[in-house]
């Protein structure tokens, strides 16, 4: 089939304040293909797509559709050019039904929900979706919501579909189903753009891959002619040899025992079921799993931010040798028990730090309660801030700069620096290098390794399997809130972990589950 150009981008540039999100990006999309936009977190994939879908307006550059230059100033313009985007964070109105959400914003013809529902069902069944048009969004599961989003775009007759990390929230079966649907759409002549950083998905699904690095386009390759190694190299810029200096764990003793931990969320969904593991001093225990498998909740439960339904969390105090029960304690109570537990959460500016506060005040978050005075002691935090800025080489005008004005890597250094400063015995980190460049990432890895060498027990939640294998001594794999296995980081295979991550209920080996229970 002769390839016709559907969409062309020329030299698109977009900046946010001092941050350049996209710089001179060129891209061509053909009809009847699936194109992957591949890049690390923070490489500007979403920003680029938002410019095509009319959410952001480019600072400079041109967008061509069918060879003709167009201006896409709003999502409405994008629809007019038959461009539809399924955002990572769904854009749905919770109290509306599926049908209301799908027809939202349409102007043509008489307003007739009944007829619309019929048409929606037709569209859905044509591509193999299951959808109840009357169901309200707040009663839907994540994959149902995604279905609504995709049908919404199709219903509008989109010829160019953009999907932003569509599989991040899906189970493996749901992912497979989605891919089938996408292939059917491609065969229907539509152009599909899928944003992702998962290489196996790129290879399994797409026809071509465009790679972004630090906001710039670094090349487009045909999927059939490439492999994981080449794509990785394009993505990160150099041959990655994940040579993280990993030392042998020394003097390992049990530090934190979690057993049979079960957690249900407010809507009654099981987030964690029967999780058991032991973290030891002087080693890094990795936690692997597809996004949303309960990693965040697991760490939050240990930190005392979530109340579990059942289970036990006990901490073995290295100084007294006593066992301390942490279950059901608040963060303050945990601290008062003398447990030095540090936690670097995944949401840095929304949870770990306060964006509008300066570095000194952010240092104080952990320590401000110290002492009986009703007033704050800003002297110690000031010294700490200056020490961290110097030792971690944080790029900032001074210590009184609001942290939101720092770059992502420096924000993370502030956070990790603060958490390490309290000389923890247990350090939990969630996605600590997400959105960071390679150099900052290595700074973080080294920091963690140094902590490990000094005898800290580290829990590391990561998404990149290469990093997990390169850094961790043992890796705990969880899948939909259950432990599916614990593997040795030194001789683990990526495939093996991947399998454990995506293993379905029926295939799970019950013996494996029991292995780590004490």
């Amino acid at each position: 089939m002769e390839k016709t150009v559907a969409l062309e981008l020329r030299h698109l540039t977009k900046t946010f304040g001092s941050v350049t999100a996209n710089k001179n990006v060129d891209l061509t999309v053909y009809r009847g293909e699936i194109l992957a936009i591949l890049g690390e977190n923070g490489s500007g994939k979403t920003t680029l797509m938002n410019m095509i879908s009319g959410l952001y307006y480019p600072d400079s550059g041109h967008i061509l559709i069918g060879g003709e230059e167009v201006v896409i100033g709003s999502p409405k313009d994008a629809f007019r050019y038959k461009i539809g985007m399924v955002h990572q964070h769904f854009k749905l109105v919770d109290v509306f039904s599926a049908a209301e959400n799908i027809t939202l914003g349409m102007k043509d013809g008489k307003f007739n929900l009944k007829e619309a529902k019929k048409k929606i069902s037709e569209t859905a069944s044509r591509y193999g979706f299951l959808l109840d048009p009357d169901k309200r969004v707040y009663q839907m599961s994540v994959s149902e919501k995604q279905t609504v989003e995709i049908v919404k775009v199709l219903y509008r007759g989109a010829e160019i579909l953009i999907l932003d990390e569509p599989t991040a929230v899906l189970t493996p079966q749901e992912t497979e189903k989605l891919f089938d649907v996408l292939r059917r759409m491609r065969d229907d002549g539509k152009s599909i753009i899928i944003i992702t950083h998962k290489l196996h998905e790129v290879l399994a699904l797409t026809d071509r891959v465009a790679v972004l690095r630090k906001g710039e386009g670094v090349g487009t390759v045909n999927t059939a002619e490439t492999n994981e190694a080449e794509l990785t190299e394009l993505m990160v810029g150099k041959k990655v040899s994940l040579n993280i200096e990993r030392s042998e764990p020394k003097n390992c003793v049990d530090r934190l025992c979690v057993s049979h931990l079960t957690l249900t969320d407010r809507e009654g969904r099981k987030i964690l079921s029967d999780i058991s593991f032991t973290a030891r001093s002087g080693e890094i225990l990795g936690i692997a799993g597809i996004a949303g498998s309960g990693q965040r909740e697991l760490l939050e439960t240990v930190a005392g931010l979530q109340k579990p339904d059942a289970g036990a969390i006990s901490y073995l105090d290295p100084t007294t040798g006593e066992t301390v029960n942490l279950l059901g304690k608040t963060p303050v109570q945990i601290r008062d028990l003398g447990v030095r537990l540090s936690f670097v959460p995944e949401d840095r500016l929304g949870m770990g730090l306060v964006g509008n506060m300066n570095i000194i005040d952010n240092m104080m978050l952990r320590s401000y309660r110290k002492g009986r005075s009703a007033f704050l002691n800003r002297k110690d935090p000031k010294n700490l801030a200056e020490r961290i800025i110097e030792s971690l080489e944080i790029v900032t005008p001074n210590a009184v700069t609001p942290v939101r004005r720092l770059s992502g890597g420096n924000v993370q250094k502030v956070l990790v620096g603060r958490e390490i400063a309290s000389s923890p015995t247990v350090l939990m980190v969630a996605y600590p290098v997400r959105g960071l460049d390679i150099n900052s990432s290595y700074t973080i890895y080294n920091l963690l390794n140094r902590q490990k060498e000094s005898g800290v027990s580290i829990l590391f939640v990561g998404e990149d399997l290469d990093v997990l294998i390169g850094l961790c001594d043992r890796i705990l794999v969880i899948n939909s809130g259950r432990v599916t296995g614990i593997v040795d980081g030194r001789n683990a295979e990526k495939g093996e972990i991947g399998l454990l991550m995506t293993m379905t209920e029926s295939r799970r080996n019950p013996a494996e589950e029991g292995r780590e229970k004490q």
Binding site: S60, T330, P345, G350, M351, G355, M364, A374, F375, R405
Partner: protein, 365 residues
């Protein structure tokens, strides 16, 4: 037609500013105030045919000409400032307490009740203690009611506190109705039970009290652990949870403080100024205070300036209305216009407008 329209590039687009130096922010705000005053001057010429310079002159006279006027200006400014201080901690916590009007009124009512029932029956020093305690406690409770529901069920506090204002008004009417047997609805001033007077003016004790409160509030917000917790909760409840702040407790504690300060304002109004209570005693200052606090970006020291500005306008325009025989509503209009200008100028601090030069356009899409 649509397709043609969309080819036109927008003339400008708006982006969020990264940062603006402090003196630039100040300059923009000062310019906004000047622009508002000029605009009002133009209005005066256009509508009333008043010489604008006589208009400004009259405003200055109204506020500053005699010592009495100057003291009065300080008095009205301090009451406004006191209520502004009261709402500030709650606002910093992003708790939209627009019930200061009612809280102040209840504080005043409680003061009046103590004066009415206990005046002359117990020793004067004891009476003062009772007045102070009643004012603070009653307003605190009034403020805590919505806070409890906010903390427990996340009940919308803006609407809740708003409604509480009108309950308070009716409560005042009810009490006066019971106290004043003549049915006139006006409670005669109980001057002999008023708080002690000292200093160069009758208003001096009030002004001094508020001055002390301003400094205390500044220190509380800036240097105390409580103040720090308020900032963290306001900025991000998630962070607060993460470091183990009990958010509910902070909400309740802060609203109790807010209420207590409103109670003090009510005490000063009833026990220190009017010696009686009526439904119009707070005179909408509870609402004006919200704007004063917001304009000062919740900084008690800046609030001295903003409350001064508003009090000056109110006093000045009152003079204008007598000098030129325009009706008094001119005061509200001028105040509101000034507020509009200052509210609007924040946009230029937060955002900047980028003009597109690549292509000729005509207007924003």
């Amino acid at each position: 037609m649509k397709a043609k329209e969309s080819k036109r590039e927008p003339l400008f687009h708006i982006v969020r500013r990264d940062h603006m130096p402090t003196w630039n922010r100040m300059l923009i705000r000062v310019l906004a105030v000047l622009a508002a005053l000029i605009f009002c001057g133009i209005l005066m010429v256009a509508i009333f045919h008043i010489d604008p310079f006589r208009f400004y002159r009259s405003m200055l006279d109204g506020a500053f000409k005699t010592p009495r006027r100057r003291w009065y200006l300080l008095q009205s400014m301090s009451i406004l400032l006191c209520i502004s201080l009261a709402v500030t901690p709650a606002f910093k916590m992003r708790f939209w307490n627009i019930g200061a009007e009612g809280q102040t009124m209840v504080g005043g009512l409680a003061t009046a009740a103590v004066m009415f029932y206990l005046g002359g029956k117990i020793p004067t020093p004891l009476l003062f203690v009772a007045m102070i305690a009643a004012a603070i406690l009653s307003a605190m409770i009034w403020a805590l009611i919505p806070a409890v529901f906010k903390a427990r069920w996340n009940t919308n506090e803006t609407l809740f506190t708003l409604m509480m204002n009108y309950v308070a008004i009716q409560l005042v009417t009810f009490c006066i109705g019971n106290w004043v047997k003549s049915g006139s609805g006006i409670l005669a001033p109980m001057s002999k039970y008023g708080l002690p007077k000292f200093g160069p003016s009758d208003y001096f004790p009030n002004i001094l009290t508020v001055a002390v409160l301003t400094v205390l509030m500044f220190v509380y917000l800036r240097y105390s652990k409580h103040g720090y917790e308020i900032s963290v909760v306001g900025e991000s409840e998630n962070t607060a949870r993460y470091i183990g702040i009990n958010v509910k407790k902070v909400i309740l504690r802060t609203m109790a403080l807010s209420g207590a300060l409103c109670g003090i304002a009510g005490l000063l109004l009833v026990g220190g100024t009017n010696y009686t209570v009526s439904t119009s005693i707070v005179d909408n200052q509870g609402f004006t205070a919200i704007m004063v606090s917001w304009l000062a970006k919740f900084n008690p020291i800046f609030m001295i300036l903003t409350s001064f500005l508003v009090a000056f306008l109110q006093a000045g325009t009152k003079q204008v209305s007598t000098d030129f025989r325009i009706n008094e509503s001119i005061s509200d209009i001028v105040t509101a216009i000034l507020l509009f200008f200052i509210i609007g100028c924040e946009f230029f601090i937060q955002y900047k407008i980028l003009f597109n030069h690549r292509q000729k356009g005509s207007e924003q899409a």
